[in-house]
Symmetry: C4
């Protein structure tokens, strides 16, 4: 059944490969301790918080790799440089299982309010770490906490990235401008949304994060399945962002496995890595979208 493009027109010039009507990216942000240390350095002194985060590399990543292997799914892990340095065997196990590794900051730093030099420093330090530990140069970038500045796309292009995954303004991948200049370099944007993140659904660290009740895994994955069906219907990208320390717990991983099986059974749905998606979208002649700050006249 082709996607009903009268009801749900695709963005101008966008199309999927032949036989494909929608795509799904089941990505993992391998944050481990970094997501707490970046924003709240004092948590490094709290063993309870640190142990909570270390569940990711210690238990969850191996479980998720086994699961992805059973599902025969190659996907994308976004890995902060510090995590690669701190958990090199874990990072290598991800790479060696054939998954794409993307950039996710060095210590999961927010770029809100930082100057350009600092922001570039985070990018380069993350790149150096991934190169040193994994011998790779990532082509994809997902900003820690999805915090992004107007200058960021330009910085990413300068550092050789091919895609970004941070924006919540589209159901479809698009071409991301880095400047208003004609011919300026572009990136591919793989959009995301808070409704497709495991953080709001499950995560709970009193005093730090989690203002929602801890979700029941079968209900969380049923909600995501509903989002998936609707995104397939509009021919978009179902981009699910998970964290091993959050989604790798037994009942959550079990529910997730059923969700991925369900997705894999949907006719015409392409389960892809970020790089595969970006490579396809690069072949399309899409008008670049330039993000500029809102203008408020006094």
């Amino acid at each position: 059944m082709p996607q009903d493009t009268n009801r749900h027109p695709l963005p101008a010039d966008f199309r999927w490969p032949d036989g494909i009507r929608a795509a799904a990216l089941f990505s993992f942000d391998l944050d481990a301790e970094a997501v707490m240390l970046g924003d709240h350095p004092e948590t490094g002194r709290y063993l309870d918080v640190i142990a909570h985060q270390r569940y990711g590399p210690r238990v969850a990543v191996p479980r998720i790799l086994r699961m992805l292997d059973r599902l025969d799914l190659r996907t994308t892990f976004f890995v902060p440089g510090w995590v690669a340095e701190t958990w090199p065997d874990v990072a290598r196990s991800v790479r060696d299982a054939g998954h794409e590794v993307g950039h996710h900051g060095y210590l999961h730093e927010s770029v809100r309010g930082v100057d350009e030099e600092t922001e570039v420093g985070y990018l380069r330090r993350g790149l150096a770490a991934l190169n040193e530990v994994l011998g790779i140069r990532p082509v994809g970038y997902r900003p820690p906490s999805w915090d992004i500045n107007y200058r960021t796309p330009g910085l990413l292009a300068r550092e050789g990235f091919r895609y970004d995954s941070a924006m919540m303004d589209s159901d479809h991948p698009y071409r991301l401008a880095t400047s208003p200049e004609p011919g300026a370099p572009t990136l591919i944007e793989l959009p995301v949304h808070w409704s497709l993140d495991d953080w709001n659904r499950y995560n709970y660290v009193p005093g730090y994060t989690g203002n929602s009740p801890v979700g029941r895994p079968s209900e969380v994955c049923a909600a995501w399945a509903e989002e998936l069906d609707a995104i397939v219907e509009v021919g978009g990208l179902f981009s699910l962002t998970m964290h091993p320390f959050v989604s790798g717990r037994p009942a959550r991983a079990a529910a997730l496995e059923r969700l991925i099986e369900r997705a894999a059974a949907i006719d015409g749905l392409w389960l892809a890595t970020g790089e595969e998606l970006a490579s396809w979208v690069e072949t399309l002649d899409l008008p670049p979208v330039l993000h500029e700050p809102p203008v408020i006249r006094p």
Copy 2:
């Protein structure tokens, strides 16, 4: 089946047109970036937040207009003046599809604690923008965040508005006094309630808004359907307030479409625009309700 007025008496002198036992207003507040910029100007520098808001004009409004066209429903969009200026084609597409455009502030400003001159300034700047971009003079006003002062009804009447939609003290439209003077101008009030808003159910911008879990669309719309049935039972106005950037995501829009179809199938339920409702209520001889501040004696 007529509404059971023994069990649920209508307010004095209130009645619906012949054959009608209740009404539904499926309205949209086209807030886009303005709802963040008005309260939190620093978010203009955060591309992630701004992109989140731009989903509304970029993706959600076109989707919602297509949906409303399929449903053959004309409704009301409340549009901040700044949004009309910033997204003129989007605002015009709403108008050109036959929907009513109402006033929703200029930059979605709260009027809490502002002086009268400032408040009038917001009203006039919004009016000027809607006139310039759309060539219209709105008859309806919905206060940003539903914040309203005791003086506001008088200001609205002076600026030529015919109805307001902000109060949570009624299940039925009523006549809104602007002063205790006999013969003073009146408006029509189309009441609202937080249980019939998509904000608490879905919206989530960490650090800014959303302290609830992200709702599952089928469950949110089932809850609204329950509210709808009960409001039909009491012969009231089901006044649902939505935001394109919130409710226009694929699964939410799909669930909303089913909810509107359900409403359209209810015998004797009138799906109307704000202006249509106000026009009807203006024909009734309703006693004006004057809102005065509570008095606390020391």
Copy 3:
């Protein structure tokens, strides 16, 4: 079926009247504007907040009175003195429908940290208002927000109250000591709990109250029905605290009516007013419970 007292022994010396195995008090706190004004006086200037609260006396109380009449249920409304003064016809309609009126502060003041004279002042001002508007002397007291001091039981006894409804330390009514002296006056305590309050389930006033999602009425009442069944099982008091402005909305009232019908159909469940419950418990020879502050030795 008698209550299984092997499995669920009643407190020492406690019993229900013959044929009764548990009781239910469906009480209402008629807070109206007072619950906001007491804690947050600035909200008096915000018409939106004030209108939200006025839904109680304007719409919800009449609806609830009609419902209770259909159900043939007499219950207890706890009314702040200021609310009686501000909405005298509403307060009288409650009294005239045969419901008990209890004391609920004057302006819904918290007694946390106030001195004894101030606390007595709140009590007396509330008594004076209920006397002047309703010509009654209440026998029951429910502290605003359930805030209570160790001295409060003594103050209540001195002012002639017979029961209090504030404590969360029991499933059963008990005798409340006012002092360690033998022969000191006692009150009856009708305990409550946050799980049996409509506030956490439904209420939402951004910036002021409500950190939970707005509940779906049928689910809220299903949760309360589950609590009811379990309390019947242990032979206790199901003491549900509601607020007209919260629970009187159409779908909530409809779900509540079904819950009360369900309760009324439970064999051996006594639906009573606070005063009826207190009168029964006064006939029992229960050991008074004296509340003293916790002692922490350095």
Copy 4:
């Protein structure tokens, strides 16, 4: 059916006793007033808060003991020293029913940021209280609020503890190192997780704790049952942490009893006390896990 160790390999060298494939620890933290007084000493002056906490020793512990007796289950109660001193009969009733008593601080103190001497003081004062009131020397320790320092395992070993229950980095018990020195003493760790705690699901004390809606007991226990099934599947430890004042309310206790019955019926699931679990794990030759602070190079 043996646990599927291809799909879910056990940690290196870990195994359960013959015939066992997973374990469950249904533990209770008997916090009573201490959990509020430790963090918020001013609550000692608020009778409403204190009464809320006293539901634990007054009503919930007897109910839970009767329930555990019906279920023929011996389990572990972690008891702050102050609670044992303040409620000696309650603490003795727990011991006399054959349950293990573990250490849970003196006044439920957080150890975040305290110096070693202070932390040792909390441990010793708790030990002294349990010895004086109960004549026992606990072998297990659960940190109040699960707050733990890197030095804590060493302190615990020095004070003669055999196990700790605080960490969220494992699905299985493990050996906990106290120092990098070979031959240094070790403890057994019985891990926990916030998803298996009744606090986030049910607890609500406005202004102090509870930012989630009050859960419906049958739904909470259904969520826990789902976690249980998944943990059995991976051959881990289902470690449920409850508080009498929270989980001992009628509907919650009823749902909990059904959950424990369900667990007891799972073939190969061992319902054990903390000490029984630790004793088993001590027999295994597990590599000690040393927790060290994260290192961040500038």
